[in-house]
Amino acid sequence: MAQEVPHQDGLDEYLTRAFEDYEGETPPDRVWEAIGRDLEAAAPAGAGGRVRTMRLRAGWLLPAAAAAAAALLVTGYLLLQAYERIESLSGQVADQGRRIEQMLAPAPEMPDSAGTDAALPGLPGAAAPAREQIAPAPHQRADREPGAAAGLPPLAPAAADALAAPAAPEARQILPPAAPLPGGRPALTALGPRRAGLPGSGDVLPAQAALPEQPFRGAGIALKVSASPQHLLPVMPPPSHGEWVAPQRVAQARDLRIGLGLRIRDRKRLSFEGGIYVQQRDEQTQHLPRLRYRREGGSGPEQQFRYRLYTSGDAQEVSVTLSRTAEPAPDSVQIPLTVETRQRSTSAALPLTARLSTGIGPLQVSVRAGAVVQYRLAGSLELLEVDTGSPYFRYDAEQQPALRSPLSSPALQMQYLAGAGAEWRLSPRLSLSVEPYAQFRPGSRDGRGGQHARPAHALAGIEAGLYCRF
């Protein structure tokens, strides 16, 4: 130690001068041995299947997320337009089909269809022989048929009765003047728009009213609010640097998500939904009683074996380190701090899910599965609190919120979700859904030295949404 006592102002200079010519120390050989092992292992690991967190620059990510959301909306709109067009054409084809069926089917209002057909020359069937067989005498025709005096072909008796009978008042109001066929006979449309299903009839066909209710398909916007009250499953992080650590427990975590989704459902009860939501997470981490074990070994003159045994509880953590080295070094007992970490984070996510639904009346029961690409948007506010129950450390009133800056190393995180739920149809265009779900986030590595970034975990939540069909 230098002999002069440094002044407070000169302390920095004293420190700087002391380290200026310091040449360092020789590290033990085991360091290079460990480096060599890691370098050997790193080569195949680069091409292997290690899970790594995708890292992108923040400048790229936000525009990419916005572009993805815009592309999603545009795609949905185009699909919706195509779908509506197909649906409209499908409805027109169905109407035409029903109209043709009704035109060809025997009309219940007509007492004798053969008589009608008999009035139309050229139509196939038994009408022609009937007309020939039942043709009345010319003097009878003059009495009964209005057109007989003009020399028109004879009508069947039933048709003649129908034409001679006075029309009902409503029928007179509804029936438009029928276009005459060649020869002065009324066309088949004279059966009336009420039966032919023509536009402008102002009525609903009985056949249409009896159709089963269409499934709630199509495309629409879903407004989602979901909450995850608690994390469920702690997942053990991988061993790191020869140290095994039992998992930490995330005691409480609450997610609140608000987002918009675009859902497209086809006729096969399969729907796809993509969207974007903003998530606010508030989590509090505590330590479980845990056991840590670490063994360090080496060779050479600085041979050293260290065994560490850690036990901890919620209120305090005690670690005992026993060392036996070639160098004189005291054994140490450490009592580190125990803290509760409260972390608030805001993130944006792009969930993509597929949902299989079946309907029971207005109720749709569905199961869904999908993936969520999540990006921490605005960092996290980490509030650190010293446990006041610890007898060793006093409470530090200076709670210092530390704003982490994930924007310096933003990460995309893939998550997987599965759920089931029910959807209640409130109106032809609006439905309310409630869907519990489970979400799993696998562990990741930060790609820099093999340290695990955050432990993986699963969570459960419930999601409520309003789905408005276009």
Binding site: M1, A2, Q3, V5, P6, Q8, L11, D12, Y14, L15, T16, A18, F19, Y22, E23, G24, E25, T26, P27, P28, R30, V31, W32, A34, I35, G36, D38, L39, A42, A43, H241, E296, R306, P328, P330, P336, L337, V339, T341, E382, L384, V386, F393, R394, D396, E398, Q399, Q400, P401, A402, L403, R404, S405, R448, G449, Q451
Partner: protein
């Protein structure tokens, strides 16, 4: 040697390690809380050096670039223990005393200073290193450690107090 390291030549990597290991280990000892932790930092830092060596374009000394990598390794290490920054205070820092065997066993005053640094709370130690020895500003330190500027200033002030106490105590004995 650099080209060999870039090509993955183990001999070249070993040569680079041997050339700079003492210097780098000295930096690690300043930032670590123990010799074992310094070995971990050295280990992690050299892995980063070999991984990111392609980012060194020959501008400036290789040793200076490696030093920056080591410093950032230490900062990353501290980030993983970040709770200790906010929770460390003067009570958490060990009081200097004649019974401190770790200090007295060193003959070199630099090594003694390293021992003092290692017994400081990690936040004190890191900020003192970054501000005094690396020349970072409080704003840069706050950005690196994700803390407030006021926190950096407070921690530096307390670190100086602890260091001064230790130095005075050591000189008296």
């Amino acid at each position: 040697m650099v080209q060999g390291c870039l090509a993955g030549d183990r001999q070249a990597q070993r040569q680079l390690y041997e050339q700079y290991k003492r210097q780098m280990f000295g930096y690690c000892l300043r930032y670590a809380g123990s010799r074992e932790e310094a070995e971990d930092l050295l280990h992690e830092g050299f892995l980063k050096i070999f991984r990111d060596l392609h980012q060194y374009h020959g501008k400036g000394a290789l040793g200076a670039w490696m030093r920056q990598v080591m410093v950032h390794t230490a900062i990353d290490h501290l980030r993983r223990q970040q709770r200790q920054i906010a929770t460390s205070d003067l009570e958490a820092a060990p009081e200097p005393g004649a019974e401190d065997p770790l200090i007295r066993q060193f003959e070199s005053h630099t090594q003694e200073l390293i021992a003092i640094l290692q017994r400081m709370p990690p936040g004190y130690r890191t900020i003192l290193n970054l501000y005094v020895l690396e020349g970072y500003s409080h704003k840069e330190i706050a950005a690196q450690l994700n803390i407030q500027v006021s926190t950096s200033k407070t921690q530096l002030m307390r670190a100086r107090e602890v260091l001064r106490k230790h130095v005075e105590k050591s000189l008296k004995t």
